[in-house]
């Protein structure tokens, strides 16, 4: 039996409000809220790089799981906003955590990265031991690149989330998963090497609003679970309107979709695990209740994972 033992998160202390952003982008705070559902987000300092944020979330998670870093057998780090092309941040994160020669791999698939990491962990922990998945993003650096695009600059924030997957009981037992990738849309959401985030918003929304519900429906169908019986949906926090759209498409109440995008914005691959960490801290879990994770992002890459509360 494979379980998620704990979640963790780390968020930069600096809060950036819509008022601050609006002044810079020549728009109004009300427009930002209306367009995105976001009121504020966090920006990391120069010292708070992807590695530092990842290590912070990892330590939080390991402490909650009562697991030492030396007991982790594989580290998976999702980040598409690290400071250099190679090596990716995973090895440095492992070093900061004191993981010795524990293998550490990078999964730079942007917003769907933590879901891909979680699925990989759920499949590998039986053979290799506890797997720590960390997602850390410094999107403030990406949107600071010129020229500034208002539509994307308002969306993103910084932060890191983590989860520990291992055999045995825990918070949630992983059940079914579905992942997909379609490179035909690779140009519709991208961060070029020397430029800001480029997004064909209509295409992203169109594809996400079809592919996410389909992935969720697939994993629920395999388990014979009705969408209305899922206790919580924990999605990549891309856009509140998109989460509401997905709720309607799968036939579940929007209140079942955990949301903290209002406070943190879109933290790319970190957002699903940050939301999960928050949800785990406040939710009353009912043993046997289904919990569904879902994400969609640049690539396009997408998927869903069904878990059951223990």
């Amino acid at each position: 039996m494979t379980s998620i033992a704990a979640f963790g998160s780390w968020l930069p202390p600096r809060v950036v409000t819509n008022s601050e952003l609006a002044a810079r982008l020549e728009c109004t705070p009300e427009w930002i809220l209306e367009m995105s559902g976001i009121e504020e987000r966090r920006y990391a300092s120069v010292e708070e790089d992807v590695v530092a944020m990842a290590a912070g979330a990892a330590k939080d998670c390991l402490e909650r799981a009562r697991c030492g870093a030396a007991d982790v057998r594989l580290l998976i780090v999702s980040s598409a906003s690290a400071a250099q092309r190679f090596p990716g941040p995973a090895a440095a994160v492992a070093a900061q955590l004191g993981m010795g020669e524990t293998p550490a791999i990078d999964v730079p698939v942007a917003s769907a990265g933590s879901l891909f990491g979680l699925v990989l962990a759920s499949q590998l922990s039986a053979s290799c031991g506890p797997v720590l998945v960390v997602a850390a993003e410094k999107m403030s650096d990406a949107i600071a690149l010129e020229p500034a695009h208002k539509a994307t600059s308002i969306l993103f924030g910084d932060g890191a989330g983590a989860c520990l997957v291992r055999e045995g009981s825990g918070l949630l037992r992983t059940v079914h998963w579905h992942l997909g990738s379609d490179g035909a849309f690779a140009a519709d959401l991208r961060l070029p090497l020397a430029g800001p985030v480029e997004m064909n918003g209509r295409s992203v929304i169109m594809q996400a609003s079809r592919k996410i519900p389909r992935a969720i429906t697939e994993v629920l169908a395999r388990a014979g679970v009705d969408a209305r019986d899922v206790e919580a949906y924990i999605m990549h926090q891309a856009n509140q309107n998109l989460m509401d759209c997905v709720a309607k498409a799968v036939g579940a109440g929007p209140e079942r979709f955990y949301s903290n995008i209002r406070r943190y914005g879109n933290t790319s691959s970190a957002s699903m695990l940050i939301a999960a960490a928050e949800w785990a801290g406040v939710a009353t879990r009912h043993p046997g209740a289904p919990v569904c994770f879902a994400a969609f992002g640049a690539g396009f890459h997408w998927g869903a994972l069904l878990a059951v509360a223990e």
């Binding site: 609003s209 079809r210 309107n241």
Partner: protein
Amino acid sequence: MSNQDRIVAILKEVSQNPEVPAAEESLFEGGYLDSFALPEVITALEKEFSVKIPDSDLNPRKFETIAKIEQYVGARLA
């Protein structure tokens, strides 16, 4: 009812706005529809015309105007 009339009925229903743009006018530039309305429009078109629109066809430019939607639907029905 012509295909265009059926498409216009869908747009009016989704937008909750009885005043539709001209056939060649962008449904989005003027704010008649926002980006989140397009998935609803696609679902309604699939149901109304009994067609399955594959994800690979969902280039928003194909659904930019009433004329383009009519052209796409016509091709799917042919």
